[in-house]
């Protein structure tokens, strides 16, 4: 069967693909989104893994969703509802804890218990990071100019960028350069002395990358995660009602309202190319759909190496994509709980259970967790970011019951001997056993356990090597280098074939910026 009549086909119903589809449909294009799975959202999906218990299976919080996308697509009308996730508690090895609270006074007093000096540094560090985030923010909304190109748009882009950096002033520019190059541990060392604080803060510098807190370049990832804070004013940070799948559904709702057609259970086998120009796609069921434009929301490996024949692309592009680093390093454990577990350091059901629990007691702890991964093993004692979504949104579990989401690092994609069922369960055991050190009654509350390794993430979502950002957020893979030099502006060497996933600038997190910028590029907007 052959179908025609679309202006553009989006491959992949992940959040970026849906954002791009919504903007294109808003501009009057006839758009078709094809999603391989029965659910929309890619890595932002909510699924009832265990009867009555809903899980944000993969991505579990929202911090970076661009405010202009929320506005342009009127996402609240389509179900976007972000609930506050305000605190972080780090249980310490000595039975105490480090709390980070929403109220600045409570927060300062808490830190004073551990280090009065750090308590003071906190507000100044916050100011610097706000400056840094403001410095980087315009870049997030910018199509990356090619610094080697003399094309007017590239020159104008570089000029704008240069002007922007000059406007920062020397002090902020230096701070930004340090952030772009240093390790998060070194960067935080310049500010803080209390080790668990540094560890907890540096954790956001390692998420989704194959780096340790002492690896150069990790400070940038710290900033990437901090960027949600710039829009702190907009307050788009927190937990989506109904899980992250509800964000995907909200974007899909907006896209449909603009006239986009969305199909699930419609995997694409191949992108059809004739004479260097895209002509449509072939579905896994053999159906052909013609369109003059095809946009891939998949990661660069799938976009360039799997969906199209290698012979359609220049050799250097193929090479560059093959060298693009994925190296998934994180896993996820989702638990259905019969009741709330008690933290030894803070027993009972306090407000701390409505926030995050960070298993990051020291920098050494995190670095050792990385050491295991460096040599091909999952961390025996991993870093974990734990939230109990049912404490924030009672609809996630039956009354009195709970769901727990555990983001785990490190779990290397290339495990020694490879991942299999036994290794997956051993990994799950390591996670639960480690967490049980801080929550002794956790195991007795578990009704169901879902363990997801990077191999599982790849198998289910299609994310190559299970990398949650569609490729590492390393300096050599950012901005005009993402995914590969000269093809960072959402185009590909094949005419009519575009890319819009997190593997393009600025990438990573439920941000939607890649999808939005791709749509703007396609529509010829600056």
């Amino acid at each position: 069967m052959t179908v025609s009549g679309y202006d553009a086909i989006l491959i992949g119903g992940g959040h970026n693909g849906l954002v791009a589809a919504a903007y294109l449909a808003r501009a009057g294009r006839r758009v078709l989104v094809l999603e391989r799975r029965p659910v929309l959202g890619g890595a932002a999906v909510t699924e009832e893994i265990f009867p009555g218990f809903k899980f944000s299976v993969f991505s579990y919080v929202v911090s970076l969703l661009r405010p202009e996308i929320i506005r342009d697509l009127d996402l609240p009308r389509h179900g976007l509802q972000i609930l506050p996730l305000e605190s972080t508690v780090t249980p310490l090895e000595n039975g105490d804890y480090l709390g980070s609270w929403a109220d600045p006074d409570e927060n300062r007093r808490e830190l004073c218990r551990h280090s009065p000096r750090d308590a003071e540094a906190m507000s100044q560090f916050g100011r610097l990071m706000q400056h840094m985030a403001m410095a980087v923010k315009p870049i997030l909304g910018m199509m990356p100019p090619d610094p080697t190109s003399l094309a007017p748009t590239d020159l104008a882009g570089m000029l704008k960028l240069g002007g922007h950096f000059r406007s920062l002033g020397a002090e902020r520019f230096h701070a930004l350069f340090k952030l772009m190059t240093m390790s998060s541990a070194d960067y935080l060392d310049e500010w803080y002395e209390f080790d668990p604080l540094k560890a907890t803060k540096s954790a956001s510098g390692i998420i989704g990358t194959f780096l340790g807190p002492r690896s150069p370049g990790s400070a940038y990832v710290l900033l990437h995660h901090y960027m949600g804070e710039i829009d702190g004013a907009f307050r788009a940070w927190g937990f989506q009602k109904g899980g992250t799948g509800a964000i995907s559904e909200a974007i899909a709702g907006a896209a449909r309202a603009f006239g986009a057609e969305i199909r699930t259970d419609a995997g694409v086998a191949q992108v059809m190319v004739r004479g260097g120009r895209v002509t449509g796609v072939v579905l896994e069921n053999g159906d052909e759909i013609n369109a003059p434009m095809v946009i891939s929301g998949l990661d660069p490996r799938r976009t360039f190496l799997q969906l199209v024949d290698e012979k359609e692309l220049p050799g250097d592009v193929i090479d560059a994509v093959k060298r693009f680093k994925f190296r998934g390093s994180s896993g996820k454990v989702n638990l259905a709980l019969d009741g709330l577990p008690d933290l030894t350091c803070l027993p009972g059901a306090g407000p701390h259970l409505k926030g995050a629990i960070s298993i990051s007691p020291s920098l050494d702890y995190l670095e050792r967790a990385y050491d295991d991964a460096k040599y091909g093993e999952f961390s025996r004692h991993p870093y974990m970011d734990v939230v109990i979504p049912s404490m924030i949104d009672p609809g996630m579990a039956p009354p009195g019951k709970h769901v727990m989401s555990i983001f785990v690092q490190y779990a290397p994609y290339n495990l020694n001997g490879g991942w299999n069922d036994n290794r997956r369960e051993a990994f799950g055991d390591a996670v639960v056993n480690t967490l049980a050190r801080y929550m002794p009654n956790l195991k007795s509350k578990i009704l169901h356990r879902q363990v997801l390794t990077p191999a599982d993430i790849e198998r289910i979502t299609g994310l190559s090597e299970g990398n949650i950002f569609q490729g590492e957020l390393a300096l050599h893979q950012l901005f005009f280098l993402r995914p590969v030099p000269a093809w960072a502006k959402y185009r590909t060497p094949i005419r009519g074939y575009w890319q819009c996933g997190a593997g393009t600038h600025p990438g990573g997190g439920i941000m939607g910026a890649s999808g939005h910028l791709a749509a703007r590029a396609i529509l010829g907007e600056r």
């Binding site: 929320i70 609240p76 506050p84 788009a236 009672p394 609809g395």
Partner: protein
């Protein structure tokens, strides 16, 4: 000393930052946590529990009770059935609003009236010649508002009443864990919600029962800051904030008619017998009111640009503001906004405003005064119809 409500022994230990405020001579929580974010979230996603005991409450009974209320308010009380609740303003002889509240018909000849201000004298003046007993039961009756999408599920745990059939603005006399209560499907949040009326002596038992039953449904004690955000989203007016009582206004310009407050729907068109303000309101209905009460949506781009021009990220109010802000169109002042907030749900900066009727059509572009870094600026805004938020579940 301000009075405390019958729930004070339970609420006081929860007010972590001692953020209290005055309400009708009582002290009530502005917020229990230092910031109202979670309390507000409970209104829109769980079940928020508000202590609304400071409301003035009058029990009006006797064969003349219906007549008294019908004479006093703009809505047709003779049509109010037993078990029904009416929201209504009441006016002076010139058709200017004195106060607004609810009338609950408890039986054929017994009503409960709620009011923002004391109205005993006004009731007595209107009762002349009628066989009616007016009792101020404000202190004797405690009240909780349970508001939010899960409020019904919470009540179903503890009360035998049939909530599936209890319609919007209806009430039921029932029990909550053996405590006699009246539950009305009413509230000040524009969401699914109920108000529970109880003898003050049983107030603490009621609080404990609801908090216990609501544990699995995210029940959250919530204060006035959260309520204020919700009522602005719902486009509900507040006395002394969005309008002034005709009884307290010093000049005519401080008074508003129901039509000027967006409450034209409460003025019975083919109503009933004589009532306060009938003549004036009839004239106003046939003519055109001078003012309109509308929503404003501040343009984010415009607002953000004002801050970026000073090198700052935009600063949004965390709680609602209640000061008058001038509103302009083409450089001329056309009105003023009286309440505003960042809507955490809608992700929009919204305000309630009085605009000259000729400049109040939805979609009209105006500007609202904002202060950015000590400087008065004009942020672009668009007139919107109210309410900003009106979920199906409110009536379903």
């Amino acid at each position: 000393m301000l009075k405390t409500t019958p729930f004070h022994p339970r609420t006081a230990p929860l007010v972590r930052a001692q953020t209290w405020r005055r309400w009708a001579g009582y002290q009530v929580a502005s917020a229990y946590e230092p910031h109202p974010d979670r309390e507000y979230a409970a209104v829109r996603n769980g079940a928020a529990l508000f202590d609304v005991s400071p409301l003035h409450k009058y029990m009006i009974s006797g064969s003349g009770a219906e007549r008294l209320l019908d004479r006093m308010v703009t809505r047709d009380v003779t049509k109010c059935r037993v078990g029904q609740v009416l929201y209504t303003p009441w006016c002076d002889a010139s058709g200017k609003i004195i106060d607004d509240g609810t009338i609950s018909r408890l039986d054929g000849a017994r009503f409960r009236l709620t009011a923002a201000e004391p109205n005993l004298r006004w009731l007595a003046m209107n009762a002349v010649g009628l066989d009616v007993t007016i009792e101020d039961v404000s202190e004797r009756t405690a009240a909780l508002a349970l508001q939010g999408p899960l409020s019904r599920a919470v009540l179903e745990q503890v009360s035998p009443a049939d909530f599936a059939t209890l319609r919007y603005f209806r009430l039921v006399e029932t029990t909550i864990r053996e405590i006699p209560v009246t539950i009305s499907r009413t509230g000040y949040t524009g969401d699914l919600g109920y108000e529970v009326w109880v003898d003050a002596a049983r107030a603490l038992d009621l609080w404990d029962a609801l908090v216990d039953a609501g544990a699995g449904y995210g029940i959250t004690p919530a204060g006035i800051w959260a309520l204020d955000l919700a009522r602005i989203e719902a486009g509900l007016v507040m006395l002394d904030v969005d309008y002034h009582s005709a009884h307290h206004a010093l000049i005519e310009a401080q008074k508003s008619s129901p039509f000027e407050l967006g409450l034209g729907w409460t003025v019975s068109a083919i109503k009933k017998g004589p009532y306060n303000g009938r003549q004036a309101l009839r004239v106003e209905r046939n003519g055109s009111p001078e003012w309109a009460f509308v929503g404003l949506e501040v343009s984010w781009e415009s607002f953000e640009a004002l801050y970026l021009a000073r090198g700052l990220p935009p600063h949004l109010p965390v709680i609602a503001w209640r000061v008058s802000q001038p509103v302009y169109r083409n450089g001329m002042q056309v009105g003023y906004a009286t309440s505003g907030c960042w809507s955490p749900l809608l992700k929009r900066y919204i305000a309630l405003a009085h605009l000259e009727a000729s400049n109040s059509a939805p979609g009209t572009a105006v500007t609202m005064e904002v202060t950015v870094e000590h400087r008065r600026c004009q942020a672009g805004a668009v007139v919107r119809s109210l309410p900003f938020f009106d979920p199906q579940r409110k009536r379903a």
